[in-house]
C-alpha cells in the first residue's frame, strides 16, 4: 500500500496532472478523427517526451491511449463513422440513437460506460497485474481461435431479417480478410497483381466506405430534406436511472474488455464485438439491438476502455506489447531506461503503480472533457444536410489519406462505399462484413497455428481448459440465438 500512496503522490503533482490531461485531450481528438488513432498520436508525441520525467511521459501517453478509446465513439454516434476500429460496434446502436434524436443520451452513455470501463480495468490491474501475467501466457493459438469463433457467432444475430443475407455478409467479410499475403505459405492471395493489396485490406478505409460513404450515397438518393439536427438531436444526457439499470451489464462488459486486453494478440477492436455479442445475448431487449438501444452503446464502449488496463498486463509484466499503442509505451519505457518485464515490479515498482493510478486519473479527465464536448459536438453536426454530408465525406477522405499519405486508401474507401451502398439496398449487412474482416485474420492464423501445434488434431479446442470454455460459449451462443429466433414461432404456430 505504501507504493500505492507514493504513486498517488507522484501522479497528483500539478505537472503530472497537466501531462495526463493534455494526453487525454490529444487522445479524444485523435480518436474522433477517422483515420487517426491513439497509437499514431502517441508515436507522434513520443519524441517530445524525451526531456520529460519518465512518469510524466507515461502519463501523457496513457492519457492519449484512454482518450483515444473514447474519442472514437464521438464520430461513431454523431456521423456513423467509427473514429477508431474499436468503435465499430458503437455505430450499431449509437448512430441509430442519434438518428432518433437521442444523441446526447448515446454520447453520454458512451462516455459513462467508457469511464467505468477504464476505472474497472485500472482497479483490476492494481489487484491482479502480477497474477494476470501468468494468465496471459495461458492464451495460445487455440484460445485465440475460440475467441474469434465466439465473436463470429455475432454475425448470426447481426443478420436482421434475412439470416442468409447476414451470413453471406459475414462470409464476404471473412473473404476480404484473406486478401494479402498468406500467413503460412507466404504467397500473395487475391491481390490481383495490385501491389497495394499485397499487405491486405486495411480495416479503417473499408469501414469508412461501408459505414460512411454508403450512408451518404443513400441519403443523397433519398433527397428528402430533413429538419436541422437541433430540432431532432437532443443534448439531453442519460438519466441516473438509465445508468443505474445498466450498471451490471457495464461491469461485466468492462471485465470482458479487461480480459481481452490481457490477451496480447487480441485488442480493443475485438473486445467491443465480444461485449456487444454478450450484451445482445443476455439482454431482454436483445431483439432491439441495432435499432438504437442504450445497452448497445454501453457494452462495446466499456469494453474498449476496459482493454486499456488489461493491455498493460502483457506490456508491464511480460514486456510484450499487444497493440501498437502499447508498443509506443514500450518505446517510451525503453527510451527512459526502464525495462518492462517480470523485473519491473521488483526493480522499479513505482513505474507500474504510477501507470495504474494514472489510468484512474486519465479516465476522470476523460469524463470531464468528454462531458464538456457533448454539447458542442452535437451542435457541430447541427448543420444543414448538404453541409453535413459533404463535411463527412471530406473528413472521411482526409482521414483515409492520412493513413498512408497516399491516395490508395481513398480509392479503397470509395470502392467500399459503392459496394456498401448496393449491399445495403439489397438487405445485406455492412456491420457483419466489418466483423468478418476484423476477426478473419485472427480466426485463420489461430486455427492454422493450433492445428500445426496439435499435429492436425481438432481436439486441441476442447482439451485445453480456456479453449474449451470458449468453444462451449460459442456453441451456446449459437444455440441461444437460434432458440430465441425459432422456438417462439413454433410455440405460436
Amino acid at each position: 500500500m505504501g507504493l500505492f500512496a507514493q504513486a498517488l503522490k507522484v501522479v497528483l503533482q500539478p505537472s503530472a496532472l497537466l501531462a495526463n490531461a493534455f494526453g487525454v485531450v490529444v487522445g479524444i481528438i485523435a480518436g474522433a478523427i477517422p483515420g487517426i488513432n491513439a497509437s499514431m498520436a502517441m508515436a507522434m508525441i513520443l519524441p517530445f517526451t524525451w526531456g520529460m520525467d519518465v512518469i510524466h511521459a507515461l502519463l501523457m501517453l496513457a492519457g492519449i491511449y484512454c482518450g483515444g478509446q473514447y474519442g472514437g465513439a464521438i464520430t461513431a454516434v454523431l456521423i456513423g463513422v467509427p473514429g477508431t476500429t474499436s468503435a465499430a460496434a458503437t455505430v450499431m446502436d449509437g448512430y441509430m440513437m442519434h438518428k432518433k434524436g437521442k444523441s446526447g443520451k448515446a454520447l453520454g452513455m458512451a462516455l459513462i460506460a467508457s469511464t467505468i470501463g477504464g476505472f474497472v480495468s485500472a482497479a483490476v490491474l492494481i489487484v491482479l497485474a502480477i497474477p494476470l501475467a501468468k494468465v496471459a501466457l495461458a492464451f495460445g493459438p487455440a484460445e485465440y481461435f475460440g475467441l474469434a469463433a465466439l465473436g463470429l457467432t455475432l454475425i448470426a444475430s447481426l443478420s436482421g431479417e434475412n439470416i442468409y443475407k447476414g451470413l453471406l455478409s459475414g462470409l464476404f467479410g471473412l473473404l476480404l480478410a484473406t486478401v494479402g499475403i498468406d500467413p503460412f505459405a507466404g504467397v500473395s492471395r487475391f491481390s490481383f497483381g495490385i501491389p497495394n493489396l499485397a499487405e491486405g485490406l486495411d480495416m479503417i478505409p473499408v469501414m469508412m466506405g461501408l459505414y460512411a460513404v454508403s450512408e451518404v450515397l443513400e441519403e443523397i438518393e433519398k433527397r428528402i430534406p430533413r429538419q436541422r439536427i437541433d430540432e431532432r438531436a437532443s443534448t439531453e444526457l442519460p438519466t441516473a436511472k438509465e445508468v443505474l439499470n445498466l450498471l451490471p451489464l457495464i461491469a461485466v462488459c468492462s471485465l470482458i474488455g479487461c480480459w481481452v486486453g490481457v490477451m496480447p494478440g487480441a485488442g480493443a477492436s475485438i473486445a467491443c464485438w465480444i461485449a456487444y455479442n454478450y450484451a445482445k445475448t443476455v439482454s431482454k431487449n436483445g431483439h432491439l439491438f441495432g435499432t438504437g438501444v442504450l445497452e448497445g452503446v454501453a457494452a462495446p464502449e466499456c469494453a474498449d476502455n476496459g482493454v486499456t488496463g488489461g493491455a498493460m498486463v502483457p506490456l508491464l509484466a511480460l514486456g510484450i506489447p499487444g497493440s501498437n499503442s502499447t508498443a509506443v509505451m514500450l518505446g517510451a519505457l525503453v527510451l527512459h531506461g526502464i525495462n518492462p518485464g517480470p523485473l519491473v515490479f521488483r526493480d522499479t515498482p513505482l513505474i507500474p503503480y504510477s501507470i495504474f493510478v494514472g489510468l484512474f486519473v486519465a479516465n476522470a479527465f476523460m469524463f470531464l472533457f468528454g462531458l464538456l464536448l457533448v454539447k458542442p459536438s452535437i451542435k457541430f453536426v447541427n448543420a444543414p444536410e448538404s453541409v453535413l454530408y459533404s463535411g463527412i465525406l471530406a473528413l472521411v477522405f482526409t482521414g483515409a489519406y492520412t493513413l498512408t499519405n497516399d491516395p490508395w486508401p481513398i480509392i479503397v474507401t470509395l470502392f467500399f462505399g459503392v459496394i456498401g451502398y448496393f449491399l445495403r439496398k439489397h438487405g445485406f449487412q455492412p456491420p457483419a462484413i466489418v466483423l468478418g474482416l476484423v476477426l478473419g485474420t485472427i480466426f485463420e492464423t489461430s486455427l492454422r497455428r493450433s492445428l500445426t501445434l496439435s499435429n492436425g488434431s481438432w481436439s486441441i479446442f476442447m482439451t485445453r481448459p480456456i479453449a474449451a470454455v470458449l468453444s462451449t460459449a460459442t456453441i451456446l451462443s449459437l444455440v441461444f440465438f437460434f432458440g430465441k429466433r425459432y422456438l417462439p414461432k413454433r410455440s405460436r404456430a
Binding site: 499514431m40 499475403i181 493489396l197 511480460l318 509506443v328 518505446g331 518485464g341
Partner: protein, 318 residues
C-alpha cells in the same frame, strides 16, 4: 457566418501564397536549408519507426534542421519505397530501411527494390538470436539440434511470417545442420516469445531487442546469436560460427536516398551520422534498446545489401 467564411478563405489564400513563395526560394548552396523527411514503410509506433524518430532527433542536432519521420505504410513496403524512388533527389526526402527492403520485393513483385536507391549508410544492426524457455531441457544450440536431428519433424519452432528474414534464415540454418523442424509462423518476435515461454513451442528465432528483458528476468535463454561477434552484454552466448555453422546474419538499419541524390548531400549526411553515436541521449536510447552500433558507408552498405539479396533470393525458392 459569411464573414467567417470570408476570413477563412483569406487566411487560406495567405497560407497558400506563403507556401508557394517559400517553395520558389532558390535552393541554398548549403545543405540542408530546410527540414528533411525520412520516409518509413511501417506505421508510427512500430519498432523501426521509433528507431528512426530517435535517430532523427539526434541528427537534427548535427544538421541544424528539423527532421520529420513520414510513415507511408502499405503494399508490403511498396508505398513508401515507390514514393521515395520517385521523390526529388535533393536530399530532403530520405528512406529509412530495414532488412524488409530486401525480403519484401523478393516476396511480392514490385516496381522497386533496394537497387532503386542510393545508399547513404548503415547505422545499426539488430542482433538476431535463437532462444528457448529457461525451463527447457536444452542447454545449448548443439543439444537442441541433436534432438531435432534425432526426431525429424517433431519439434515446433516459432518465427516471423514466412517470407521474413527470420523465417528464411532459420530455414537455411536447419538445412545447413541437416535437421527437420516444423516452423509455426507468427506476426512478430513478441508473440513467439510468449509461446516459447508458455512451453507451446520448443524454441524461437527473433530480434534480441524484442526479448532482451525476458532474458534478463530469467524467463528465456538464448542459445545462439547470428551475428559475426558475440552480443555486447552477453559474453556467454556463442555465435553460430562458434557452434559450427558458417553463417552470419545481421539485420540492417540504415538510410538510403533517391537514386540521383548528389554526392555532396550523401557526404554531408554520412558525416552527420558518424557523429550521432556520441550524442548522450541517443546513446542511452540505443544501448537500452539493444541494437548494436555499426557504421557502414555507402559502398559498404551497398555490398552488404547485395550479399543479403543473393542469400534471400536463394532461400525464397526453396
Amino acid at each position: 457566418m459569411k464573414r467567417v467564411i470570408a476570413l477563412v478563405s483569406v487566411l487560406g489564400i495567405l497560407i497558400g501564397l506563403t507556401l508557394v513563395l517559400s517553395g520558389c526560394k532558390s535552393e541554398a548552396k548549403s545543405y540542408p536549408s530546410k527540414s528533411i523527411s525520412i520516409v518509413y514503410h511501417s506505421s508510427a509506433g512500430s519498432g523501426g519507426d521509433i528507431f528512426l524518430r530517435n535517430l532523427g532527433k539526434a541528427l537534427e542536432k548535427q544538421l541544424k534542421q528539423p527532421i520529420v519521420i513520414e510513415n507511408r505504410p502499405g503494399g508490403g513496403g511498396a508505398t513508401a519505397w515507390g514514393y521515395v524512388a520517385k521523390a526529388k533527389p535533393d536530399g530532403y526526402t530520405l528512406l529509412g530501411i530495414s532488412s524488409t527492403i530486401i525480403t519484401g520485393p523478393l516476396q511480392t513483385p514490385m516496381d522497386v527494390n533496394y537497387k532503386s536507391f542510393k545508399p547513404i549508410a548503415q547505422v545499426f544492426y539488430d542482433p538476431t538470436v535463437i532462444f528457448t524457455s529457461s525451463k527447457s531441457e536444452f542447454r545449448s544450440f548443439k543439444e537442441i539440434i541433436e534432438y531435432a536431428k534425432a526426431h525429424p519433424k517433431e519439434m515446433k519452432w516459432g518465427a516471423g511470417s514466412p517470407g521474413s528474414a527470420e523465417s528464411l534464415t532459420l530455414k537455411y540454418i536447419m538445412n545447413q545442420v541437416g535437421a527437420e523442424i516444423q516452423v509455426v509462423p507468427f506476426e512478430g518476435g513478441g508473440d513467439v516469445a510468449v509461446e516459447v515461454m508458455a512451453g507451446r513451442l520448443a524454441a524461437g528465432i527473433g530480434e534480441y531487442a524484442e526479448i532482451a528483458h525476458l532474458v534478463r528476468s530469467g524467463d528465456l535463454k538464448i542459445l545462439v546469436g547470428l551475428g559475426s561477434e558475440r552480443i555486447p552484454g552477453l559474453p556467454d552466448v556463442p555465435t553460430l560460427k562458434e557452434e559450427g555453422v558458417d553463417f552470419v546474419f545481421e539485420k540492417v538499419r540504415g538510410l538510403m536516398a533517391p537514386k540521383d541524390t548528389p554526392d555532396y548531400v550523401v557526404q554531408k549526411l554520412v558525416d552527420a551520422i558518424k557523429k550521432v553515436y556520441d550524442d548522450a541521449e541517443f546513446k542511452k536510447y540505443y544501448t537500452e534498446s539493444n541494437i548494436i552500433p555499426l557504421f557502414r558507408g555507402p559502398e559498404e552498405l551497398s555490398k552488404v545489401l547485395d550479399q543479403q539479396n543473393e542469400f534471400f533470393k536463394s532461400m525464397i525458392g526453396k
